[in-house]
């Protein structure tokens, strides 16, 4: 009796140890939106760390020691690509000494590979500012991009963790079903916005603008990554006066100076969009991100 009890305990211990090891697929997401997407598809089977907070400029993160340590233990790296992380991710990858997440490995996933890029520059010259050679990297502001990326991610997770492949596929199917319903709802809600003129601070929302059919009539930054000067703001003000922009759009992480200054002079109100998951208390997941984005743009003023 005692012996069988002991055996039972040992078996339980072994099972729990096995379960713990089977549970842990370590995911390192560079930005919150891919962490949120991985959460939708992988759920509890993934242990996700996110390199940047929702209120940090994703271009200007440093290769911090903490990030190197997290990357060392990762099984899957989720990045945006298109040079968004070029200032820090290469160092992290090299310093991590982790073969599983190198760009040639199965554990390296770039979201831009699965969507159509906008703002691909016709010429590459730093005189045009901090341009991205492969196009605008902020692809996550168009909800139509998620099903494609989710499909690729579910396939990748199934490859990395074959034991749970069926669950990833199931979760993906459910996610897409929900997403398509949401998409129809958002598009219906945002239909009156089509053709409305807007001014943006940085080209952060090109994909959102493309999706909703908004008309981007000006950018407050004279060149990507270059802060707007007073003279430039005055020029934009002059240029947009006749068109009466409905919104001046800026991301929650962007400096409020240029947008607020422009709003005060032009009378166009500022719409502070969450940009990504976690920007404020309302935006807890991807669905909430677009609920909130569409709601703020549709708000009366």
């Amino acid at each position: 009796m005692k012996l069988s009890m002991l055996k039972y305990c040992l078996a339980l211990l072994a099972a729990s140890l096995w379960a713990a090891s089977a549970l842990a697929l370590n995911v390192f997401a560079t930005v919150p939106e891919w962490a949120a997407l991985a959460q939708e598809i992988g759920g509890d089977r993934l242990k996700i760390v996110t390199a940047t907070g929702a209120l940090q400029d994703p271009h200007r993160i440093e290769a911090k020691p903490s990030l190197i340590a997290r990357a060392r233990n990762a099984d899957l790296l989720l990045a945006t690509g298109a040079e968004l992380e070029v200032g820090w991710l290469p160092v992290i990858l090299r310093e991590s000494g982790n073969a599983r997440i190198q760009p040639s490995a199965l554990g390296y996933f770039e979201a831009v590979a699965y969507v159509k890029m906008l703002d691909v520059p016709g010429r590459l010259d730093r005189a045009d500012g901090d341009v991205h050679a492969s196009g605008n990297p902020h692809i996550h502001t168009d909800p139509r991009n998620y099903p494609k990326i989710a499909a690729a991610l579910a396939t990748r997770l199934a490859q990395l963790d074959a034991a749970n492949a069926a669950q990833y596929r199931m979760a993906y199917a459910k996610f897409v079903e929900r997403w398509q319903a949401n998409l129809a709802r958002w598009e219906k809600q945002a239909a009156p916005l089509r053709g409305q003129p807007v001014v943006v601070q940085h080209k952060s929302f090109s994909y959102l603008i493309d999706w909703l059919g908004l008309k981007e009539i000006a950018v407050l930054e004279p060149k990507p990554g270059v802060e707007a000067s007073a003279a430039h703001l005055a020029r934009v003000l002059e240029q947009t006066r006749a068109q009466k922009p409905r919104w001046v759009i800026r991301a929650a992480w962007e400096n409020n100076r240029a947008a607020d200054g422009f709003a005060a002079q032009s009378g166009a109100p500022v719409a502070v969009l969450p940009f990504t998951v976690g920007a404020d208390d309302q935006v807890k997941d991807l669905t909430a991100l677009f609920d909130e984005t569409v709601a703020r743009l549709s708000a009366a003023h």
């Binding site: 907070g53 209120l55 940090q56 440093e62 290769a63 911090k64 020691p65 903490s66 190197i68 340590a69 997290r70 060392r72 233990n73 040079e83 070029v86 200032g87 820090w88 991710l89 290469p90 160092v91 990858l93 090299r94 310093e95 991590s96 000494g97 982790n98 073969a99 599983r100 997440i101 190198q102 040639s104 490995a105 590979a113 699965y114 969507v115 159509k116 890029m117 730093r126 500012g129 901090d130 492969s134 494609k148 690729a152 990554g225 270059v226 802060e227 992480w253 400096n255």
Partner: protein, 471 residues
């Protein structure tokens, strides 16, 4: 044209519907007209069909571009060219004291830090007014899935090319291991690994100048291991031919170990906005006949040499604050080093000149420490202001030749005790990530006598590939 034919068509149609009351010739006319109308109808249908076909084609094309697909990469012959970046730097300086002239007034002798054997590292502007800085050309690429190669050449204003780094590095070796071989900058301390263009001030700190001739490099190998912990914990070992002061490995020719170093680093975040790193390091070398020049009591230029062991320990700390909002940032960094040397000092080893016609050799042991601390505050977009304090401790030295009365203290004037200090203030402006213009003021007490006041105006610009910087 189209309008005309439509009017004609309408006219024919009207005619065709006209009530027929006329004779046989009229009936023949009507049938001719009908035939013409049928012809026109057929022609229009054909054109409409062609338009529809074109529309369908365009729609199909746009559908294929929306479908997820890997974008084609230009498959030109240069597609695999390595990443190339270039740093351009130049400055204009104004100094109260002549940067080329020692206080002793000895011709051709450069100003050096009092109290220690000179490291040979640059620490002052080359000369007053305009000087070109080093132009750094960096070329790097992945060699294959397992290795990465880097070359960094510095083109000096004196038109010399020097190889600063030329190394291979493993890529994702696994188990947290990283191996580098070739010429590289040592990982000891914090600032040692940074290239001058990444420095927050226009010159190296006093401890780096005094202990390593600005920067310690190796022709050798480095192994780093990153512990599988949530907190950053890294260990490194380096061995090989150390480059420059305090070693004299360049002249050595022996099998096995020459110089070596070891370091450990610990780091993490505090919240989302703060991050820090602590480090401890150790460097050991065995200089043989490491020479330096001095002016003895008779005013003669003599060459003295040191042989023995040299061991340096160091501690470093970095703390960075980068808030979510706004363009502000703050960075604090500080390093401390202590070097112990013991061995033999040979006075006037080269020529039978000076106060004593013959060379003399005696014991020498010394302990030298130094530290710097600096803070750089980004207070507005593009603008930063920084302050640095650096100091070298009074060197504790026992010189056998002086203790035994063979030489007087003023025969080795450069080794006479002193406590060098310097304060530096800088303001820099970066319109973009790739350009920086810096104004720097220094109050420099590294030699006895009057303090030097230095003003620098320095530009540092980077072209080409977007390099990722270390923490």
């Amino acid at each position: 044209m189209k309008h005309v034919s439509i009017i004609v068509l309408a006219a024919y149609g009207a005619l065709a519907s006209f009530p027929m009351t006329a004779a046989a010739e009229a009936a023949a006319d009507v049938s001719a007209l009908r035939a013409e109308i049928a012809q026109l109808k057929a022609a229009y249908e054909e054109r409409i069909q062609a338009l529809e076909r074109r529309l369908n084609q365009v729609q199909a094309q746009s559908a294929t571009t929306v479908a997820p697909a890997a974008r084609p990469v230009a498959a030109a012959a240069n597609a695999f060219n390595p990443a190339i970046s270039l740093i351009l730097s130049g400055m204009t300086t104004s100094t109260k004291l002549d940067p080329r002239q020692d206080t002793s007034g000895a011709a051709g002798r450069e100003r050096r830090i009092q109290g220690l054997m000179p490291s040979g590292g640059e620490f002052n502007p080359e000369a007053r007014s305009w000087n070109l800085g080093e132009s750094e050309l960096a070329i790097s690429a992945n060699i294959d899935p397992h290795f990465r190669g880097t070359l960094l050449a510095a083109l000096s204003p004196a038109n010399e090319v020097s190889v600063e780094e030329a190394n291979i590095q493993t890529l994702g070796l696994g188990a947290g291991l990283n191996i580098k071989a070739g010429r590289f900058l040592s990982g000891i301390g914090y600032a040692n690994e940074q290239h001058p263009h990444a420095w927050d001030f226009s010159n190296a700190s006093l401890p780096h100048q005094a202990f390593f001739g600005a920067q310690l490099g190796y022709d050798g190998m480095q192994i780093k291991w990153l512990a599988p912990t949530d907190m950053f914990l890294e260990f490194g070992l380096e061995t090989g031919r150390a480059r420059g002061f305090p070693s004299s490995d360049a002249a050595r020719n022996k099998n096995g170990l020459m110089s070596g170093s070891a370091f450990a680093r610990l780091g993490d975040d505090v919240g989302r906005e703060h991050s820090w790193r602590l480090g401890a390091s150790y460097f050991a070398t065995q200089p043989g006949d490491r020479a330096y020049e001095d002016i003895d009591s008779s005013g003669t230029r003599v060459t003295n040499r040191f042989s023995g062991t040299s061991r340096t320990v160091g501690l470093d700390v970095v703390w960075k604050w980068k808030p979510h909002y706004g363009a502000q940032s703050f960075k604090f960094q500080s390093e401390w080093f202590r070097r112990k040397e013991s061995g033999q000092l040979t006075y006037n080893g080269d020529n039978a000149v000076g106060a004593f016609a013959a060379a003399a050799t005696g014991d020498l042991s010394s302990t030298q420490s130094g530290l710097y601390a600096q803070g750089v505050w980004g207070f507005a977009p593009a603008w930063r202001v920084g302050y640095r304090y650096d100091q070298l401790g009074r060197r504790a030295t026992r010189i056998g030749l002086i203790d035994q009365g063979v030489l007087a203290a003023n025969d080795l004037p450069l080794l006479e005790a002193f406590e060098p200090k310097r304060q530096t203030l800088m303001l820099d402006w970066s319109r973009s990530e790739f350009s920086r213009i810096r104004l720097q003021f220094a109050h420099d007490r590294t030699r006895p006598g009057a303090a030097d006041r230095q003003i620098w105006l320095h530009y540092i610009m980077s072209l080409g590939a977007h390099g990722a910087h270390k923490f």
